[in-house]
């Protein structure tokens, strides 16, 4: 591959004495869907704003689409959906979108053509109704989100940056958003989105970067990240309630370091030198009747918890869906 879509090198941003981003470095390859994960206050939005040259880093280097991030020529090749969404409330939908398109260098005519396509595609314009002449104020929240989303994609950007795109979306709109992201990737565009919903990231992203307290905790391809956290977790279902002998095996600290016992189903984390086959053999010899014995690959969620620490996540989760 040629130069990456985004490369951030040792970027530092300080706000009135507190360090929002410390020596952040990451690389987003072209044509990938890249997840920026982390609890609130981790520095995601600050990093994104620096990437888009909305605020200036104190030090470090940021390159976007092969140029310095403050090169005026790249602005039109990047689309941005900020976390705090908003449009001119008293303006007609079409006029707002045309304005946003013109700000990205589109002619009014070309913008109009694309606006129609997008409005039809996202169900804001069809045979029976046409929301393009309504004022933004008159739209439901979900519709406003769609309009804003269209606004960030109208100029067909090579790089799309979505800050917490799923927050506040109902399941239908969330699905529409996921479909669009998949489409964008198919067209060879690069998508960066930040989220703290690990499930979405796991399903959609090619690569992720977990940041906390302004630092990269972990990054890489999703498959690699998960592989590097090799399966130490075993999920076991019993056909009948496990006997005391079976329990004794599960509580043996040389084999199992942590046990999540839900009676019929237990999840056991293997001890450092134990192996899954050894555990299985011990259980059978203890007389357990096993229905299912599965090595579970750790989810991003679990990795996230492990690396960031549960307390941070809880702080991050409050106030968010």
């Amino acid at each position: 591959m040629s130069e990456p879509a985004v490369s951030i090198r040792q970027v530092v941003k300080r706000y009135d004495g507190h360090l929002a981003v410390r020596e952040l470095s990451l690389t987003v390859p072209k044509g990938t869907v890249y997840g920026l994960l982390g609890p609130n206050g981790a520095g995601k939005t600050t990093s994104i704003r620096m990437l888009l040259n909305i605020i200036a880093p104190d030090s470090g280097e940021i390159r976007v689409l092969g140029a310095a991030h403050d090169d005026p020529r790249i602005v039109d090749r990047v689309g941005y959906l900020p976390e705090e969404r908003g449009l001119y409330r008293k303006m007609q939908v079409r006029r707002v979108l045309r304005f946003l398109g013109e700000l990205k260098g589109l002619s009014g005519k070309e913008a109009d053509r694309r606006i129609d396509l997008w409005l039809e595609r996202l169900g804001l314009k069809n045979g029976s109704e046409d929301w393009s002449h309504a004022k933004v104020d008159e739209l439901s929240r979900g519709m406003q989100q769609k309009v804003q989303f269209i606004g960030s994609l109208l100029h067909e950007p090579e790089l799309v940056v979505l800050d917490e795109p799923f927050s506040g979306l109902d399941p239908i709109n969330a699905q529409a958003l996921k479909d669009t992201v998949v489409d964008l990737r198919k067209q060879g565009r690069t998508v960066i989105f930040s989220t703290h919903i690990m499930d979405n990231a796991e399903r959609m992203c090619d690569a992720v970067c977990i940041i906390a307290r302004g630092e990269v905790v972990l990054d890489g391809k999703v498959s690699e990240v998960r592989d590097s956290h090799s399966a130490r977790l075993v999920s076991i279902s019993f056909t009948e309630a496990p006997s005391t002998a079976v329990h004794a095996v599960l509580r043996d600290p040389t084999i199992v370091t942590r046990l999540d016992d839900s009676h019929q189903v237990v999840e056991a984390e293997l001890a450092a030198h134990a192996s899954a086959p050894a555990l299985l053999t011990r259980l059978i010899s203890a007389g357990a009747s096993i229905e299912r014995f599965e090595l579970v690959r750790p989810s991003l969620h679990r990795i996230f918890l492990e690396r960031v620490g549960a307390t941070d996540v809880e702080v991050g989760m409050t106030g968010h869906g």
């Binding site: 909305i54 602005v75 908003g86 001119y88 006029r95 013109e102 700000l103 990205k104 260098g105 960030s152």
Partner: protein, 430 residues
């Protein structure tokens, strides 16, 4: 450049299309028209019924002479005029008190406007006394005063042996002063008074337009902050360009409105004689002085740069606040700065070439209003004029620079309002 134009277009058309703009633009000329024509029309109507009204009084003549009859005749428009005349009641110093009481009750019952007491002091040319419901009407009082004065003069002349006709002819003097303003351009239309009115008009129009559209810029900035649309916009265009586009866009709306107002005003002014003759009213009480094309250009320049100066400051205020309420407080320093020129309006009108007027017409925050006012009232030396314009331009550039520094940071700041020290930090931030 295209992006800047997109911002200007949006700011301009979203405002021009609004109902508020249409109403204000149409209402302005109606107000001007009323200000222009109503005084003349109303004065004409009052004059039509004027003399009769002044004559609707009782004259208590305690002078022991025919003075009362003469005053009554003078009030009703001379001996030959057939009009209502005042009732004359002779009185002595003994009956005066009861006569006055009777006259007072007549005034209260509104059958007369008031009563005039003539006595020996009046005859001696010193005092006369009037009590009534119209004592605050200056025109009525001066008519009364003149009638009494003239009657006393007539009586003295006749006593000195002149006949009635000769005395009347001798006292029939009514000089009114016609003033003409002389300037470097020679004789100009209009007198001092009309220059005075025009000066106030220009100052108020500039003050109002700068104030209204400056606030408009502030609200626009605040709206972008509140609706959070600012972040999307500054991801596409630099904050300083956005600010410039906003100020230029809003300023163009102001200029459009001013142009329409002045245009319609000019049409009304040039049709003034036709309109007024329909109402049988005389000429306008004022005339627009000829300030020359250069004067007009200067006034326009002062508006443009004055607006830039204040719009920048108002935009900076908008960027530091989070709500309308906060904006109300934060805008005070800027509003006060703008108010200075209006607060000293009277002093400047009295002495358009005085030290205060000259000083205020050179300071950048008051010059945009005071200099055009002086320009339309007196002859301002070219050095002062150019110095003032330079000062306003420098002020506008400085204000725009300062505003763009504050705007850049403030646009994405929410929460607590910054202190002055924090603002200074914003300005110096890289």
């Amino acid at each position: 450049m295209d992006k800047l134009m997109a911002v200007i277009r949006r700011e301009y058309f979203e405002r021009v299309r609004s109902r508020w703009f249409v109403i204000a633009t149409l209402f302005g000329p109606i107000l001007f028209g009323a200000l222009m024509f109503l005084p003349s029309i109303l004065t004409a109507r009052d004059q039509a019924k004027g003399p009769a009204d002044v004559a609707r009084i009782v004259i208590l003549d305690a002078s022991g002479s025919a003075l009362g009859e003469r005053v009554a005749a003078a009030l009703s428009g001379g001996v030959s005029a057939s009009g209502k005349s005042a009732a004359v009641r002779p009185a002595t110093s003994a009956t005066l008190a009861s006569e006055e009481e009777a006259a007072t009750s007549l005034v209260i019952a509104d059958s007369v406007r008031g009563y005039l007491v003539l006595d020996s002091a009046t005859l001696a040319g010193r005092t006369a006394r009037y009590a009534g419901s119209n004592t605050t009407a200056m025109l009525d009082m001066s008519t009364l005063e003149r009638a009494v004065q003239r009657s006393v003069q007539l009586m003295r002349m006749e006593a000195a042996g002149l006949d009635q006709a000769t005395s009347a002819q001798l006292t029939a003097v009514n000089v009114s002063m016609v003033t003409e303003r002389l300037s470097e351009r020679g004789r100009t239309d209009g007198n001092a008074f009309s220059g005075f009115l025009f000066g106030i008009g220009v100052a108020m129009l500039l003050y109002m337009t700068i104030f209204i559209y400056g606030l408009n810029v502030m609200r626009g900035v605040l709206e972008e902050k509140q609706s959070r649309v600012a972040e999307v916009v500054v991801a596409s265009i630099s904050p300083s360009k956005l600010l410039i586009g906003k100020v230029v866009g809003v300023g163009s709306v102001g200029l459009t409105q001013l142009t329409i107002w002045i245009g319609l005003g000019w049409v009304m002014y040039s049709l003034r004689d036709k309109v007024l003759s329909r109402f049988d009213a005389g000429g306008l009480p004022f005339a627009v002085p000829d300030i020359g094309v250069l004067g007009g250009v200067f006034i326009l320049l002062f508006f443009v740069f004055g607006f830039l100066f204040y719009a920048g400051l108002f935009a900076a205020v908008g960027a530091t606040v989070n709500s309308e309420q906060e904006a109300q407080q934060a805008q005070m320093p800027v509003v006060l700065l703008l108010l200075v020129s209006v607060m000293f309006l009277q002093n400047i009108l009295m002495q358009p070439d005085g030290t205060l007027a000259v000083l205020l017409s050179i300071l950048p925050f008051s010059a945009p209003i005071v200099m055009p006012m002086r320009l339309s009232m007196t002859d301002v030396p070219m050095t002062q004029l150019l110095g003032s314009l330079a000062s306003v331009i420098v002020g506008a550039v400085a204000a725009t620079w300062l505003a763009s520094r504050i705007y850049r940071v403030g646009l994405l700041m929410y929460g607590k309002r910054p202190t002055v020290r924090e603002l200074a930090k914003w300005v110096s931030r890289r």
